[in-house]
Amino acid sequence: MFSESRTTHPGGKSSVKTYREALNEALRQEMRRDPTVIVLGEEVSGGAGCPGERDAYGGVFGVTKGLLPEFGAERVLDTPISESAIVGAAAGAANNGLRPVAELMFFDFIGVCFDQIFNQAAKFRYMFGGKSRTPMVLRATVGAGFRAGAQHSNMLHPIVTHIPGLKVVLPATPYDAKGLLIQAIRDEDPVIFLEHKLLYDLKGEVPDEPYAIPFGEAAFHREGDDVTIVAISAMLHKALAAADELAKEGISCDLIDPRTTSPLDEEAILESVEVTGRLVVVDEGNPRCGLAADIAALVAERAFHALRAPVRTVTAPHTPVPFAPELEDAYIPSVEKIVAAVREVLEA
């Protein structure tokens, strides 16, 4: 599933790291640099109050492992299972001198704490006439493919992308994971940072030094003239496989990962469509009012004159994420579906 990305790296020493290790390194380096950065969430270390070991989990997927031993329980807080209290504490603390990185385990859990995200943290600055700062990060895992069923597998990035006041980040590579998380921690606005659970073991070259990737700057993973493909999060890797397969037939794709859905690098998409005249948007989210529809609308509004074929979207269907492996595999957009969509826009 996973192909090598072509993102260029800054200078300095680098090494091969997993997406998980890249995220851990970003947290560790930022916590060393800035004593106001704290981490809180359910089992971000694990074992609190238990007779056995501390740091038993280091987060549900091990991203925060080792932070408790290095930074102590004052900066790495294992919380009760109380998502509203977690998000509220992060938002309130961010307005009072800390830079909290809160973890929601699974982004599906926004259902029990959405008020604190969208009515509180997201709106503070506007409601308070620009006086408040809420430099918090809310990390969470998204995505299907883990056989985790309907309540642990959603994407839901469109729901938060819809909310003014939030920034929304979905890294697809280890390099982006580190650089975008560092930017998220240093950012002055509330950032929703969504990690795809199938990507944690993905390896890639990652600089050892800290670096920040600005939000709203898309990454170009393949360059081509025939079709523009926009894909985000884990879908980038499906799109890479599709583009490489099509390249064998001489079809060249411009493959864009926006990396952040808010802000969205609209210019990168529009400029590419101006050249190719054809657009396929791939997104693991559900189709209605989703990212793919949003990008299709953007292009219809601002680059209609350049289009030589109808825009095609490849998304999950309008269903919850199913459990049975056959059903879940059919739910997630596949390389075959992307290839078919590209052929269709070329034939139109």
Partner: protein
Amino acid sequence: MNYAPDFLLRAYRTMRTIRAFEERCVVEFEKGNIPGFVHVSAGQEAVAVAACIDLDDKDVIASTHRGHGHCIAKGCDVVGMMKEIMGRATGLCKGKGGSMHIADIDKGMLGANAIVGGGPPLANGAALAAKTLKTGRIALSFGGDGSANQGTVLEALNFAVVFRLPHVFVFENNGYAEGTAASYAIGAESLTERNRAFGLPAECVDGIDFFATYEVMKRAIDRARRGEGPSAIEALCVRFDGHYIGDPQRYRAKGEVERARAEQDCLKRFRERVTAEGWLEEEALDRIDAEVAALIDRAVEEALAAPRPDPATDLLSDVYHSY
């Protein structure tokens, strides 16, 4: 307890300012000078002032939809507040917040909150920052009896106990959650007993009595400052007006409001006590009444003359720090 005269004068002035502000809001709303809907807190002044009088600008409060009194007690500028409530560009929040979202970060006022139960989790955050950064500050959240039944508040109570946060939870029990009786909606025999079950010191106090309320608040605030963790205070009080301005209040007993205004007025009680004890003279209190009346007149006058926001520049600004 001994009270210094300037403390008493300050307490009275703040309570009177809240009363006059709220009464004037009703007048200006009925004249059509205030857009939207407004919830006033006349009758509950003693709780707001008793809770905030020992706090400074670095301490943080989180308030409610009925938050004007909390704002004034925390030191927010009354003129800026009136401008905000009238939606003016020079209001405390540039006219973008309004009555239900009024805030002043510089004064440690983390916002009124139009979501019942929205504030306590946020105040936990302020308390967590104080504890982590060892600033010695504390946080205090207000909520009504209605908020006591919100999951966010129950989560926040437990969270504050687990992390021993310097957070005073104040429940203003005015007997009504909008138009539903507190005794109906709180399943437990006693809210204070239920609060205590979370594992923190919980007290119930007569919120009409400024002095009793102040002593309970002081104990809780001192405890928080000493690093001994959160407390919960239920202050029994009376709402002189409806849930919102214009509420016909058919759910209240006949004569109830009139009786409350006559017999359960925290300002009258305060005056009776301080003059009976010989702590203050009537003249000093009357002088404050006159000064406050002039201040509120000026606030309304300035607010009515203040510029309105300009959609061309103000609609799109202040969403993000940078985007």
